[in-house]
């Protein structure tokens, strides 16, 4: 049994962050099933983010009491959040459990959250990782109980006397059912059911505050009862629309932004029948023959994280300073732990405009040629009081071992190199142009290929 290289590059672009020619060649001896199982097995276990310890960050009130100024406290939070970002980036660059991190990225975007407290953000991220492939219901319950989400969607303020509808609305609109599958009355009543869901500030753990809970009768999805939060989650799970909503989003993420409705419905049924077992759904997707259809290859746009991590892993780039990756995430439009809003990054074409495309086309040659990257800085943090108005050309050291890359690819011609680095072949006229210079060495050919617009397709 063997697997065509094209399929391996496709799998690794979707389930991971790309793969080198040498590794792909080794894998091609195995059957497709073995490869997929290998990916799934290595991703059933993983390690958590542990960069931020609870002790690193005092509670605001303790910090103030200890004489720390508000400004210093906020700077501490900001610096630690940047550290947290970098710790995930390092994991993405080095992990063997690529599929687990990919699915964690999916949940990071699905349950988008943005609070200032780095420890709580880390905990939420670890929930996404811990429950990445288990039951979506369990994941949803844990996310709903996480202090980060309780703060972000104002459920700390959701009390019997003054219900706050923010969490109730997003729970249904963005996390489970989607717009149009609940009424405004449902929002109000679901909010009542979640009153009292809060957390203990001293030890940052979930706490059900009975006194603030409204235990009266509610009418939710036309049913009457003295429902609490978990009852609502169970009702939402028993609605097939939830399976459809999540499956469709996963299909867009892993298969194709253009949805095949028939397939998504079949997959949603499967997900529902398997009690929302996400691992089973993911395996079902990757073992379906249509996943390898030409129309599903190279059809999606790489997110900035896919792009940056993919480029770095593919060329084993060594970074002297991770600051460059933190900045690049921002200027390319996707900075981990800083989603634009609770709806997450809209993805696809929205990541591409004239500036980001040109940056993506220039970065490979900058990084791979001389290890220096020049990017204009972007100041969009409202906490920054002054606007830096000069163009900051930051130079950061990166290191690439061309010796290994050239050795690995030495037997390949331009056509084969394109198959290694691109998921989609350029159109005939562009191809003609690239081939018009026959004198190129392997290095020049690779640089030309990864500077093409097609390198941004996954």
């Amino acid at each position: 049994m063997s697997t065509p290289l094209g399929q391996i590059f496709h799998i690794y672009s979707r389930l991971g962050f790309g793969i080198s020619y040498a590794k792909a060649k080794l894998l091609s001896q195995k059957s497709l099933n073995e490869i997929i199982n290998g990916l799934i097995v290595t991703s059933t276990t993983g390690t958590y983010l542990t960069e931020i310890s609870k002790e690193d960050i005092m509670l605001k009130k303790d910090a103030m009491e200890s004489g720390m100024s508000m400004k210093d406290y906020q700077k501490l939070l900001k610096d630690k959040l940047e550290q947290l970002n970098t710790s995930w980036i390092k994991k993405l660059l080095n992990t063997e459990n690529v599929l687990l991190e990919k699915q964690t990225l999916f949940w990071h975007n699905h349950f988008a959250c943005r609070v200032r407290h780095p420890y709580l953000m880390q905990e939420l991220n670890n929930i996404h990782r811990k429950f990445a492939f288990s039951s979506f219901r369990d994941l949803l319950v844990e996310v709903s109980k996480s202090p980060a989400m309780l703060i972000y969607l104002n459920n700390q303020q959701n009390k019997k006397a003054h219900p706050n509808e923010n969490f109730a609305r997003e729970l249904m609109e963005l996390f489970t059912l989607g717009r149009g599958n609940y009424t405004e009355q449902d929002v109000q009543e679901v909010a009542r059911a979640f009153t009292g869901w809060g957390f203990n500030k001293e030890d940052s753990t979930f706490e059900f505050k009975e006194k603030q809970h409204d235990d009266g009768e509610k009418t939710i999805f036309t049913r009457k009862g003295n429902f609490g939060g978990e009852d609502v989650i169970n009702m939402i799970m028993s609605n097939k629309q939830t399976a459809y909503f999540i499956t469709k989003k996963m299909y867009k993420f892993y298969v194709n932004e253009n949805v095949n409705e028939e397939r998504v419905k079949q997959l949603a049924d499967f997900y529902y029948q398997n009690q929302y077992n996400t691992g089973a759904l993911v395996k079902k997707i990757f073992t379906s023959p249509w996943f390898y259809d030409a129309e599903n290859m190279g059809c999606n746009i790489k997110s900035p994280i896919d792009y940056l991590i993919g480029l770095s892993r593919q060329f084993s780039i060594k970074f002297a300073n991770y600051d460059i990756l933190f900045k690049l995430q921002r200027v390319l439009g996707q900075q981990l732990f800083y989603p634009p809003n609770v709806a997450g990054w809209p993805g696809g074409k929205t990541f591409i405009d004239s500036t980001t495309l040109v940056l993506r086309m220039k970065l490979p040659s900058q990084i791979l040629n001389n290890g220096n990257v020049e990017i204009p800085d972007k100041i969009d943090d409202p906490d920054d009081q002054k606007k830096e108005d000069i163009l900051l050309n930051k130079k950061f050291g990166t290191e690439v071992n061309w010796g290994i890359i050239l050795e690995e690819n030495k037997s390949l011609d331009l056509d084969k190199l394109m198959k290694v680095y691109l998921l989609k072949t350029p159109s005939p006229k562009v191809l003609e142009k690239i081939k018009s210079d026959p004198s190129l060495g392997i290095k020049e050919m690779i640089l030309k290929i990864v500077s093409l617009p097609e390198y941004n397709l996954a």
Binding site: V358, K362, K387, E454
Partner: protein, 394 residues
């Protein structure tokens, strides 16, 4: 202005007579006649509007702001018991000549006090519990324009406001530099080659379309712009430079309808007075120079300047000599032929607050509709889905 007067004023910048586009301006006109353009100036961070347009006759203002409240010696009185923070002094001339409109109490229902979210709401013209992925000006480009360069943001990166579904505006911080950066023969070669291929609607086609729009758009702006010499002196601030760039773009005859620029630093939680006054002064001086410059170039009739911020600030000052995130605020519009001038609506009500914040009276989307429909001659209802009527300042 008659032709002689025009010749007199523009002789200050003799270079203009060399610009072919300027001599035959008709080729770039919209079907309706003269091409209109809008310049949006965004205050990022949430401007404290109550210390910008000050309700100085209201005792509550001073009561809630014992430290920050501006006394009469720091103000320039307007009508209706309102006054300019005197950092805006140079704008008084436009207020007096009826070329400035100040709208009070602008906001939206269920206001969000997060910078990011509220800015998204202003950029996309969404409701507060609705998430749109395109900006109001991006949708204007989608619906009414053909080229990316018809919307230019003078910055390194493009705001959501200018992102459409089919068309995105161009971010042009420095046109010569950008032109230089794009002079990679390889990029131009493949862009040229792609022109001769069929570009599909798929993502691959989209990437090449974006590349082509970028290279050809930047070329076009650069070529038109390089023969402009504008000797008018602007204040030496970032905003001054940016507005001068915009004046040059306008006079170069490019068919851009939307210009966008941001001024940052308005998040004044502590030690607000000096910070805000400096920013307002920077703003006022740059805008004033821009208007005077355009008047001299006979281009002011076709331009409107619009200023907003993602929210105003709390009525009550905080303990650090600053103010925290609030809700409704002002917007400014400058233009030659405003339908409404000066203070156009009722004063902010400091008694009837919503949890310490001002209640909005004018939905910002009704001002967007006015700009789109009555100034840019666009079908506003296709761009703004909110069911609000245009608030007719223009």
């Amino acid at each position: 202005m008659d032709r002689r007067g025009f010749l007199k004023t523009s002789s200050l910048a003799s270079g203009y007579f060399l610009i072919p586009g300027f001599l035959k301006p008709l080729e770039n006109l919209s079907p309706g006649g003269i091409q209109k353009n809008i310049v949006v100036i965004q205050f990022s961070g949430g401007n404290d509007w109550l210390n910008t347009i000050v309700p100085f006759k209201n005792d509550l203002y001073y009561k809630k702001r014992p430290k920050l409240g501006l006394k009469e010696d720091k103000l320039i009185l307007l009508e209706k018991d309102l006054a300019f923070n005197n950092s805006l002094a140079v704008l008084k001339q436009f207020y007096d000549s009826g070329e400035m409109a100040i709208v009070n109490n602008v906001g939206y229902p269920n206001p969000d006090r997060s910078h990011f979210r509220s800015m998204d709401i202003w950029h996309t013209a969404s409701g507060s519990s609705e998430f749109l992925h395109t900006g109001w000006l991006g949708r204007y480009l989608d619906n009414e324009c053909k080229n990316a360069y018809e919307g230019i943001e003078v910055d390194n990166y493009l705001s959501l406001a200018l992102k459409g579904k089919k068309l995105n505006g161009l971010a042009v911080k420095n046109i010569s530099q950008l032109h230089q950066e794009l002079k990679v023969p390889y990029f131009n070669d493949i862009a040229e080659a792609a022109k001769n291929d069929v570009l599909n609607e798929d993502n691959q086609g989209y990437l090449y379309k974006t590349l082509l729009e970028t290279t050809s758009g930047v070329d076009y702006i650069y070529e038109k712009n390089k023969i402009v010499t504008n000797t008018f002196e602007y204040p030496n601030s970032e905003l001054g430079k940016q507005l001068k760039d915009i004046a040059n773009f306008i006079v170069s005859g490019i068919s851009t309808k939307v210009y966008y620029v941001s001024l940052t630093g308005f998040d004044t939680h502590a030690a607000q007075l000096d910070k805000q006054n400096n920013l307002l002064e920077q703003y006022a001086k740059a805008v004033s120079a821009f208007i005077v410059n355009l008047k001299g170039l006979n281009k002011w009739d076709d331009t409107v300047v619009f200023t907003f911020s993602e929210f105003g600030r709390r009525v009550e000052e905080n303990a650090s000599g600053g103010t925290d995130h609030g809700t409704a605020g002002n917007v400014f519009l400058f233009g030659k032929n405003l339908k409404k001038k000066g203070i156009v609506n009722e004063l902010p009500n400091l008694e009837d607050l919503d949890d310490g914040d001002l209640k909005y009276r004018v939905d910002f989307r009704s001002i967007y509709k006015n700009i789109l429909q009555d100034w840019l001659q666009a079908d506003a209802n296709k761009i703004i889905s909110a069911e609000v009527n245009p608030f007719k300042v223009l």
